[in-house]
């Protein structure tokens, strides 16, 4: 498995003064690997260290300890950063400029040759073509975010690092952004998304990491994280005796199924035997799944 990014034992402490001892730990020994071609979502509460992690990845902040590898090289190497597209959380844009001028400036610094036609196509991709001749100073937050995304997409980067990519974007715009990012993923790019919007992360990312207090609490494929190991969804054939099932340990749900908590296979089968003894016929058994919000809440509770 080739990795797009790899962080090992990453530790970062923000000091109050240049040589001071005080300060706050933002990252505490973080280990994280993101395979190439995957979409990884980093979630966590405010102050968890998500943005610091991104800054350490891209050489914007220097970790105190640990190593970072970006596309098999050091983030200090400008040639590697040329293969990365980055959208900061709050991108500052030159208000007096127009979008093509800003994108041209970014392209020059990135060493990417772009024509006016390519710039127009890029602006069209992010839904800003109609505003191409407007000054950026008059843009809404969502429009600025789209322009930042366009800048990140310049040069078809192998890795896209996006800090709150849909922040300020309207609901329909979020769908457009998601489609755009899905197309980048289909192209073979790796996505690393840092977002507060769990539903967006859930829809876009196949792998999730939960960060809190500078530590990675959980990390893995989305379905594995959302799967509840000790909980099951059970569907019985019509006509089953509800009261008998409740007595056997099943909890009815609003969808007409039953929920069962069974820590192991023996407890699961014992409960099913009790249900069958009460005349219920099993037609479907699946592991119960939770949404990302539940997973995050549970991870944070466990860490606390």
């Amino acid at each position: 498995m080739t990795l797009a990014l790899e962080a090992t034992g990453l530790h970062k402490r923000y000091r109050r003064w240049m040589f001071g001892r005080g300060g706050q730990d933002a990252l505490r020994g973080l280990d994280l690997c993101v395979p190439r071609g995957s979409a990884f979502g980093l979630i966590g509460p405010n102050g968890a260290g998500k943005t610091t992690f991104i800054k350490c990845l891209l050489g914007i902040a220097w970790p105190d300890r640990g190593t970072v590898r970006l596309l098999d090289s050091s983030p200090e190497d400008p040639a590697v950063r040329a293969r990365v597209g980055y959208l900061p959380e709050r991108l500052h844009l030159p208000g007096a400029w127009k979008p093509p001028a800003f994108l041209s400036a970014v392209a020059r610094l990135k060493g990417v040759a772009v024509t006016a036609t390519q710039l127009r196509a890029l602006l069209e991709r992010v839904g800003l073509l109609d505003s191409a001749e407007r000054r950026i100073g008059g843009f809404s937050k969502g429009m600025r975010q789209r322009l930042g995304l366009a800048a990140a997409l310049l040069g078809s980067p192998e890795l896209l690092v996006l800090d709150e990519p849909t922040d300020g974007v309207d609901p329909l715009g979020r769908v457009e952004v998601r489609r755009l990012l899905e197309s980048e993923l289909a192209r073979g790019a790796t996505l690393f998304v840092n977002s507060h919007l769990l539903s967006e992360t859930e829809r876009l990312c196949g792998r999730i990491g939960i960060l809190s207090g500078g530590r990675l609490l959980r990390e893995g494929p989305l379905d594995a994280l959302c799967r509840a190991e000790a909980s099951w969804e059970v569907r019985f054939a019509p006509g089953a005796d509800g009261a008998a099932l409740v007595a056997a340990g099943f909890r009815p749900t609003q969808e007409g199924t039953f929920h069962l908590d069974a820590p192991d296979a023996a407890a699961l089968n014992a409960a099913l035997d009790r249900a069958r003894a009460a005349g219920a016929l099993l037609v479907e058994l699946t592991r119960a799944s939770r949404d990302l919000e539940d997973v995050l809440a549970e991870a944070l509770r466990a860490a606390a």
Partner: protein, 277 residues
């Protein structure tokens, strides 16, 4: 190459700022006033009469090149000190803007080295200063050249020395901004450097007025480190007037300023390379 791109972007940014549009308009207006309002009558190489908006200015009849010397000296000082005072206010925001949250992260994630960002910012501001000084001095030269037939390139050299002086001050302002991201601090450091530079240029005279002691010693040390800006301004004025100036004298004062500039830039780059954003 990236340094040039950063510098070019800074110039584009400056072109959109009202400060610089205002400066360009003011210089142009002044030059237009001179074109339309100033009438110089030159007879056999001598300035016979001077009229400003039709009013005769009573000046003795002198050779035109001699008569223009005070004008070039005055213009040189105005460009040096006036340009520097304008520049340290108008340019104080460039480095803090470069380091502003949301912008510096984006720039640092691009394939640009940190020192290239600082070098590009410095270069852009220096080009801006040199451009303004050259535009003002060059415009004046052309107008007076056409009106009197006296053509000299030395005021342009004086303007370039003014740019050297401004570059020296801006290097200190840039270093200050890297330590404390504030336009006010940057401008204050620029003003302090300008005053220090004027005092440093007069260090010998000032030292003779001081009695022996730690204060004199400290001033001697401090004024040795500061760039001798007033000496540079005087040298520029002498050059503008066509007075004989020893090449070694110009070289020494420029080298002292260049040394200070290099030191300030090295300090800025050292801090910038270490800083987290």
């Amino acid at each position: 190459m990236k340094t040039l791109h950063v510098a070019a972007d800074l110039l584009r940014e400056a072109a959109a700022r009202k400060w610089f549009l205002g400066l360009g308009a003011a210089i142009t207006l002044l030059l237009l006033v001179l074109i339309g309002g100033l009438r110089l009558e030159v007879v056999d190489g001598a300035l016979a009469a001077t009229r400003l908006f039709g009013n005769a200015l009573f000046t003795p009849i002198r050779a035109a090149d001699v008569a223009l010397r005070p004008v070039f000296i005055a213009a040189s000082y105005v460009i040096f000190y006036g340009g520097m005072a304008f520049g340290l206010i108008a340019c104080s925001d460039f480095a803090p803007a470069l380091l502003s949250p949301g912008r510096i992260e984006h720039l640092l994630a691009l394939p640009v080295r940190r020192w290239e960002l600082l070098a590009g910012t410095f270069l852009g501001v220096v080009v801006l200063g040199l451009g303004g000084a050259t535009y003002g001095a060059g415009g004046l030269l052309i107008i007076l050249g056409f009106k009197t037939g006296v053509w000299t390139w030395q005021p342009l050299l004086a303007a370039s020395l003014a740019a050297v002086g401004f570059a020296t001050v801006y290097a200190g302002m840039l270093a200050a901004a890297v330590f404390v991201r504030s336009a006010a601090v940057s401008a204050a450091v620029g003003a302090l450097l300008l005053i220090s530079g004027i005092l440093a240029g007069n260090r010998r005279t000032l030292l003779t007025t001081m009695s022996e002691g730690p204060g004199r010693w400290a001033f001697g040390l401090w004024s040795r480190v500061m760039p001798p800006l007033s000496t540079l301004a005087n040298t520029a004025a002498d050059l503008a007037a066509g007075s004989p100036v020893a090449g070694a004298e110009v070289g020494t004062v420029v080298a002292e300023c260049a040394l200070f500039t290099a030191g300030a830039l090295a300090l800025a780059v050292w801090r910038f390379e270490q800083r987290d954003f």
